[in-house]
């Protein structure tokens, strides 16, 4: 019974983890059809921003929930203005340029922070379920993920900004028809997506030692979660996060974490092949 609870909690955590690291990429991909391969590095930057400000004395929660998104949002704005905005509509070129950006960011961070791991302790203590020691902080991550997605859904459905965002998903013409400049909307969207990635990085910072290269782990999982999810930002990402998280953890429990990860990647290939429009392209059409 205890074991079941542990498994379920681990699955829930994995889903939340995937949902969190995918949020920024989902917003940018869902609204602008931009595949940002530097997304993992944005998450990494959020982590570094959190750790640096925490070490400078700022409260850890402020560092991860406020500083990280702001810093990475600013970086995102810069990137959009200097690189991405020239490549709208050119998906392959965008992938290439953002791949270059990811290398650049890794190089920069290595230059500034060096190649040794930095870390910060988790602010929430662990707890017990029967014989098992659980990380308390994981529950905080789940809570943040839930709040984030509920928030996004509410904004998309019920606010004017959300309406414009959903219009943007249909194309620049719709945005113009709504009376707004598509270029400005795209700029804001990319910035917002970057901020979300920064938030994810900040929240995840206390979990492991941070290296400039951690982005690589994040991008792969976020990537497949978002692309197989399809255009629906909330519905798509959550359904694939749910699917992958479950498969990953179940297989991991049955054998090893590596096999679990490989199972997830294989599943991704199968889904991509069978549903080129993503899950929301096939099943939940017209969902947000």
């Amino acid at each position: 019974m205890d074991y079941l609870a542990v498994v379920l909690l681990e699955i829930l955590y994995m889903i939340a983890f995937l949902a969190l690291i995918s949020a920024g990429l989902a917003v940018v991909f869902g609204m602008m059809r931009v595949i940002n391969l530097a997304h993992g590095e944005f998450v990494m930057l959020g982590g570094y921003a959190t750790i640096a400000s925490s070490k400078a004395g700022i409260n850890i929660y402020v560092a991860m929930l406020l500083i990280a998104p702001i810093v990475v949002g600013a970086v995102g704005l810069l990137v959009e203005r200097l690189i991405v905005r020239f490549l709208y509509g050119r998906m392959i070129d965008t992938m290439l340029a953002t791949w270059g950006l990811s290398l650049l960011l890794i190089g920069l961070v290595t230059l500034i922070f060096g190649n040794t791991a930095v870390s910060v302790p988790a602010p929430i203590p662990g707890y017990q379920i029967g014989r098992y020691q659980m990380g308390g902080y994981n529950l905080f991550i789940v809570a943040v993920a839930i709040l984030l997605y509920v928030g996004m859904w509410v904004v998309l459905r019920y606010t004017r900004a959300g309406l414009i965002a959903r219009g943007a998903m249909l194309g620049a013409d719709t945005v113009s028809a709504l009376g707004h400049n598509p270029r400005i909307i795209y700029m804001l969207t990319f910035t917002f997506g970057a901020a979300l990635s920064g938030l994810a990085g900040g929240v995840l910072a206390p979990l492991t030692g941070l290296l400039p290269s951690v982005g690589g782990a994040y991008i792969a999982k976020a990537f497949i979660t978002v692309i197989t999810g399809g255009a629906g930002i909330v519905a798509g990402t959550l359904s694939t996060a749910g699917l992958f998280g479950t498969v990953n953890q179940l297989v991991s429990f049955a054998s090893t974490p590596v096999v679990g990860e490989i199972a997830m990647l294989l599943l991704a290939i199968v889904l991509l092949r069978l549903m080129p429009q993503g899950v929301t392209g096939r099943f939940f059409r017209n969902s947000t």
Binding site: I92, S102, G107, L265, P276
Partner: protein, 350 residues
């Protein structure tokens, strides 16, 4: 319409021979260790450039076949002892793997972007898998896969039939150069053939090629497999050069690097990718010798700049410029009212 046309110039034999001579005489002027590596990278770049520039297929995980070639060679040579079969297997296994992945993608009519994504994920899977194969349990025959640490000290290339006569140093350099030049000529032959012309047509307009009755999916799978085989060859040659194979051969970094080499050198020519590999490879080696400027930083900046400023790289811009110049000259001559006889002679030459 064989020979020139379709954007593939006629092979200039004088340049080719001159270049081959330079390569052959190089050992007299310098050490061969670095040139060997650069030639291997050039071959790897050629394998991607052929597919990308002429068939329009961009793989974001071409390192998968490079790595498979390297690992296949290492594992096979441990088990077989003589190197000829392992080398052939190192071409065949990646080719078969590429045929399977390619068929799955192309017969599934997956879009360009998804080809990029799927190829990326395939490399990730191989990378993760190989990284986790530490321990005695993971072995194929005599070869322990070695996980993160890889497979060291496998038998290197030997003279076919004589396992004791190992090939390294300058003789090995010649083997690599032979493979490079041979592959280049193979690529040329492909491009001049109906198969190659069809690939170029597919790059230009897949739908139209289908409507003309071409089995587009089969053709794309075929070139994907061939280029996978060539990448495998370069991987096996790399294994022999490095005398160790580690999971880094499957890394995203390796896939990114080869794309950068091709795009900088020029998508749309055969020579461009090879030049890109040599130039950027040299840069990488030079940068690797110091620690102040990080290699990732430079490569990343280069990729961004190239995509923004010269999306198809230097070489095609040059080729297009030359074509335009030739057309302009032809018009000028026509306008000047050249005699009919001279015009006919000009047309016969083409």
């Amino acid at each position: 319409m064989t020979g020139s046309g379709f954007g593939v110039g006629r092979i200039r034999w004088n340049w080719f021979v001159a270049f081959a001579l330079v390569l052959l005489l190089l050992p007299l002027l310098s050490e061969v260790n670095t040139p060997t590596l650069l030639a291997i990278w050039a071959l790897f770049a050629l394998s991607l450039g052929l597919m990308w520039g002429y068939a329009g297929i961009l793989s974001f995980g071409h390192a998968a076949y490079f790595g498979l070639g390297a690992y296949t060679y290492a594992i096979a040579s441990f088990n077989i002892g003589e190197s000829t079969a392992p080398l052939l297997l190192a071409i065949l296994i990646p080719m078969i793997f590429a045929a399977i992945i390619g068929a799955m993608m192309f017969y599934g009519r997956v879009s360009d972007v998804y080809v990029g994504v799927i190829t990326l994920v395939v490399t990730l899977i191989l990378n993760r898998f190989m990284n986790a194969t530490a321990g005695d349990a993971y072995r194929i025959g005599n070869a322990r896969l070695g996980g993160f640490n890889g497979i060291p000290a496998f038998p290197i290339l030997n003279v076919p039939g004589d396992p004791n006569e190992q090939i390294y140093g300058t003789p090995y350099y010649y083997v690599v150069i032979a493979c490079l030049l041979g592959s280049y000529l193979l690529a040329r032959v492909i491009l001049s053939s109906a198969f190659g012309r069809a690939l170029i047509g597919i790059r230009e307009n897949e739908l139209r090629m289908e409507l003309l009755g071409y089995n587009v999916q089969g053709l794309k799978t075929a070139i994907f497999a061939i280029c996978g085989g060539l990448a495998g060859l370069s991987g096996a040659l790399f294994a022999n050069w490095a005398e160790i194979v580690t999971p880094s051969v499957f890394s995203l970094g390796q896939s990114a690097e080869v794309i950068i080499w091709v795009i900088v050198g020029g998508v749309g020519t055969l020579v461009g990718p090879m030049i890109g590999a040599v130039l950027l490879g040299t840069l990488k080696i030079v940068l690797g010798m110091q620690t102040s400027i990080d290699n990732s930083l430079i490569l990343g900046a280069i990729l961004i700049l190239v995509v923004l400023l010269i999306p198809r790289g230097f070489a095609p811009a040059f080729v297009a410029w030359r074509r335009r110049l030739a057309q302009l000259q032809a018009y000028r001559r026509h306008a000047r009212g050249t005699t009919r006889r001279r015009l006919h002679v000009k047309e016969a030459e083409q």
